[in-house]
């Protein structure tokens, strides 16, 4: 089972990379994905997306999912 992890903006900078590839157990939560890959506390207000949709830390991920972590958006 493989999860693609992506980081954007200040989170990308703090972690020093664009993302990670994670071989993961089924039923793992987004929070667990962060814990394993980032290995630091998530910045306050970190937003999570699963497969390009806003999600939350309790969401379970499946094989092939893309999980993204980023700060509050500031477009427009």
């Amino acid at each position: 089972m493989s999860i693609k992890v992506r980081y954007f903006a200040s989170i990308r900078e703090v972690l020093g990379r664009n993302g990670d590839e994670l071989a993961a157990r089924s039923g793992m939560t987004v929070a667990k994905v962060w814990q394993i890959t980032a290995q630091i506390d998530a910045p306050v207000n970190t937003i999570v997306a699963v497969n390009e949709e806003f999600s939350d830390w309790q969401q379970s991920v499946s094989d092939g999912d893309e999980v993204a972590f980023f700060p509050p958006v500031t477009g427009g």
Binding site: F8, T74, G75
Partner: protein, 143 residues
């Protein structure tokens, strides 16, 4: 409904002229168009801004811009909508975003246009990094 996310600078009025010229099928129906253009100012919180870099989440950005336009079309009676948003390096006075809505009457056009830009600012995955005389800094909150 058209959504464009692109790196190159654009001229909003030229974009709209081209878009309307090539559009088919709404002859005689449009009574109102409402447009919003967001531009980079050269001052941010009192500091001169030399440039801004907009990072985005390719794919998710387009998906949410389309979703927001669809939502606007469900909430108000509109005939067409158009959004263009830049990413990459942007200079002061350059447009960042263009939103346009066409409808029969002005109420729907104003409401839908405002909805799209407000939702875009809270849900489309873009992140602004300003380059000021103090260096680079991530914009933390949208105004």
């Amino acid at each position: 409904m058209t959504v464009i996310v692109s790196e190159k600078a654009f001229l909003p009025w030229q974009v709209l002229a081209d878009y309307e010229r090539l559009r088919n099928g709404l002859q005689g129906q449009i009574g109102a168009a409402t447009v919003f253009v967001g531009t980079l100012r050269s001052l941010s919180q009192g500091r001169p801004v030399e440039a801004m870099t907009l990072e985005h989440y390719p794919g998710m950005t387009e998906k949410y811009l389309q979703l927001i336009c669809r939502e606007a079309g469900e909430k108000w009676q509109i005939l067409d909508s158009f959004v263009q948003h830049r990413y990459g390096r942007i200079l002061p006075d350059e447009p960042i975003v263009l939103v346009a809505v066409w409808s029969e009457h002005r109420e729907s056009a104003f409401k839908a246009c405002r909805y799209i830009i407000d939702e875009l600012k809270s849900r489309a995955p873009f992140w602004k990094q300003e380059q000021t005389d103090e260096g680079l800094r991530w914009v933390e909150k949208n105004t």
